[in-house]
């Protein structure tokens, strides 16, 4: 990682003279009389903090959207009194959970019980490392990019199983086991559909994957070349997030709340936060992998040349950067909206149906998809990134 990062940023600075906030920050700090290394140290936590704040705000917005859209789909009103249209309701929820008593059941394993939610949340937040909002707008352009996310998301079931087992409760244990089974089953088709994308873009880096999609705007998005992969990825992402057609681990009608049964207060809030951060992250990654990431439906370069401006002009760069962030967020939230709509449309599948779908349907199809992509890449190297 430490090898890749400076090389990656350096090469980008050479090839695309876009916005490099770190460089400008570094120069400004040096202007104040600090050495380059100190400036780098001061810079380091800033993007992380920014992304953490962005993730939490994203969760608050998603929770609000979930409640409002759920209400609309059921012809209710939804939260209304906390702030205008109830926008502060998620804040109120969070605050309530913050001041609630932190209960650890008497017969539970205190250490594992506490460690569980942490182990669920941390990898999800860590995965935001690789989400690009623009050419240089990501914490770290790690070379293994999307693979890092897949690796990190495999840590989650350990945390779920841990908390389910440590609760010393039959519902929790069942929920934890289901969560583990589900995560493991759906990780494989997920990874295979990502692999097809990686094969087409010849890179694991999320930045390269987006770059490769933005040649001709809307038409060059991966969703047209990988429609099956897109669907498989979205289904698997929903299953990984434990969203409604696949929310067996916390199925409230059968398992009370699954592995969350014994949790209260801030530990429960960590689970809650984790599941919603994961949803936003999955939506962001779908938009990155299949919907052209920060790309505008019409390439910014074309728009700039029509207006008669160079793409390298500073204010065009700023506008392009802002459009990039807005586009990424819009695409992600459209997907979040679809996820919420799906929640009120689809009934929950049974555990055997879930595993059937994962192993007997998605896995073979994603394998075929991978093979077809490989052969198309050999046959039409221009269209499929040869």
């Amino acid at each position: 990682m430490s090898m890749v990062t400076p090389l990656g940023t350096a090469s980008q600075v050479l090839t695309t003279p876009g916005i490099d906030l770190e460089l400008s920050f570094n120069q400004a700090m040096q202007g104040l009389g600090l050495s380059s290394e100190v400036a780098h140290l001061i810079w380091l936590p800033l993007p992380m903090l920014l992304v953490l704040v962005a993730a939490v705000i994203g969760v608050l917005v998603t929770v609000w959207l979930e409640r409002k859209i759920s209400a609309a789909a059921q012809q209710r009103i939804g939260p209304e009194y906390a702030g205008a249209l109830g926008v502060l309701q998620p804040m109120a929820d969070g605050l309530k959970l913050l001041v609630k008593e932190d209960v650890i059941p008497a017969r539970a394993d205190g250490l594992l019980f506490t460690l569980g939610p942490v182990l669920v949340l941390v990898p999800v937040i860590l995965s935001w490392l690789i989400v690009p909002f623009g050419q240089n707008l990501l914490i770290s352009n790690v070379g293994i990019g999307i693979f890092l996310w897949i690796a990190l998301s495999s840590i989650q079931p350990i945390g779920l199983l841990m908390s389910g087992y440590a609760s010393n409760n039959k519902y929790s244990l069942l929920g934890g086991l289901r969560a583990a089974a589900q995560s493991i089953s759906y990780e494989i088709p997920l990874a295979l559909s990502v692999l097809a994308i990686v094969m087409m873009s010849n890179s694991l880096s999320t930045v390269d994957i987006v770059e490769q999609q933005n040649g001709a705007g809307l038409l060059s998005w991966n969703v047209w070349r990988q429609p099956v992969g897109f669907l498989i990825f979205w289904i698997c992402a929903l299953a990984e997030c434990e969203r409604l057609p696949f929310d067996l681990p916390e199925a409230e009608e059968e398992l009370v709340a699954g592995y969350q049964t014994e949790y209260a207060g801030m530990k429960f809030a960590l689970f809650y936060l984790g599941s919603y951060i994961n949803l936003v992250l999955s939506a962001l990654l779908v938009s990155v992998l299949y919907l052209g990431g920060w790309g505008f439906p019409i390439p910014i370069e074309w728009l700039a040349s029509w207006v008669g401006q160079s793409i390298d002009a500073p204010f065009i760069q700023v506008i392009a950067g802002s459009i990039g962030i807005v586009m990424t967020v819009i695409k992600a939230y459209v997907l979040v909206f679809i996820a919420i709509l799906l929640r009120w449309t689809t009934p929950r599948v049974r555990i055997d149906q879930l595993l059937d779908l994962g192993w007997k349907f998605l896995l073979p199809i994603s394998l075929v998809n991978l093979l077809v992509t490989a052969s198309l890449k050999l046959a039409f190297p221009i269209a499929f990134g040869g």
Binding site: Q75, R76, L342, T345
Partner: protein
């Protein structure tokens, strides 16, 4: 070989059919989002109880003859009729009457059978109390009239679905003064009186005409 191909095509058809059903479901859910909420925001808005609504029982002490029919028709003999026999007048003298609404099932049998109509059903349904003993209403409490939803200034009364005019689906769509379907008894009375007076005046005109005719 053909059998295998058929299996594959059937499987594919099934998968696409499932996807199609899912899409249809999504369309339904999506369509619901543009509909107005049907929420009634109680305590600020309340539905107008339907006529013949069986709410808390109202009781008129002065009409009661202490016959105890209400007690006999009650499934659990709930009304307590406290009377003494006045030996001089040889009549029952009513002292107290009470119904415990913590136990009452609001079946309305007492109201149905009361020979003097001293019992009646009201529209009151907000009977929550901190102590169940405070639900044991005596004749004073039973004699109180509830605040009607339509006359309470702090409440926006809403019609129930079956009382809406044809074509209207949401009570919020009605104008402010269209609070109740049909007419109040007082309005019906007014209408009857009006009709009667017009008939009277018509008859008087007719009779005067007749008189005129007779004169001729």
């Amino acid at each position: 070989m053909l059998g295998f191909l058929k299996k594959v095509s059937d499987y594919t058809k099934e998968a696409f059919g499932a996807a199609n059903y899912l899409f249809q479901g999504l369309v339904v859910t999506f369509d619901h989002m543009r509909r107005r909420p049907i929420t009634v925001q109680y305590p600020y808005e309340k539905l107008i109880p339907s006529e013949r609504y069986r709410g808390r029982i109202h009781y008129e002490f002065d009409k009661c003859i202490a016959c105890e029919v209400c007690v006999r028709v009650c499934p659990i003999n709930l009304p307590v009729v406290d009377w003494v026999m006045n030996k001089e007048t040889k009549k029952k003298e009513l002292r107290n009457y009470s119904i415990d609404f913590g136990v009452c099932i609001f079946c309305g049998n007492c109201v149905e059978y009361c020979p003097t109509n001293c019992l009646s059903m009201t529209e009151e349904y907000e009977l929550a109390a901190f102590d169940r003993h405070s639900l044991n209403f005596d004749n004073v409490a039973l004699g109180r009239l509830p605040t009607s939803v339509t006359t309470d200034p702090s409440v926006q009364p809403l019609r129930e679905l079956s009382y809406l005019p044809q074509g209207v689906m949401d009570p919020h769509d009605l104008p402010q003064n269209a609070q109740r379907a049909g007419q109040l008894p007082s309005e019906v009375l007014e209408l009857i009186q009006q009709k009667a007076s017009t008939i009277d005046s018509n008859e008087s005109i007719k009779s005067s005409n007749q008189i005129d005719n007779n004169k001729e």
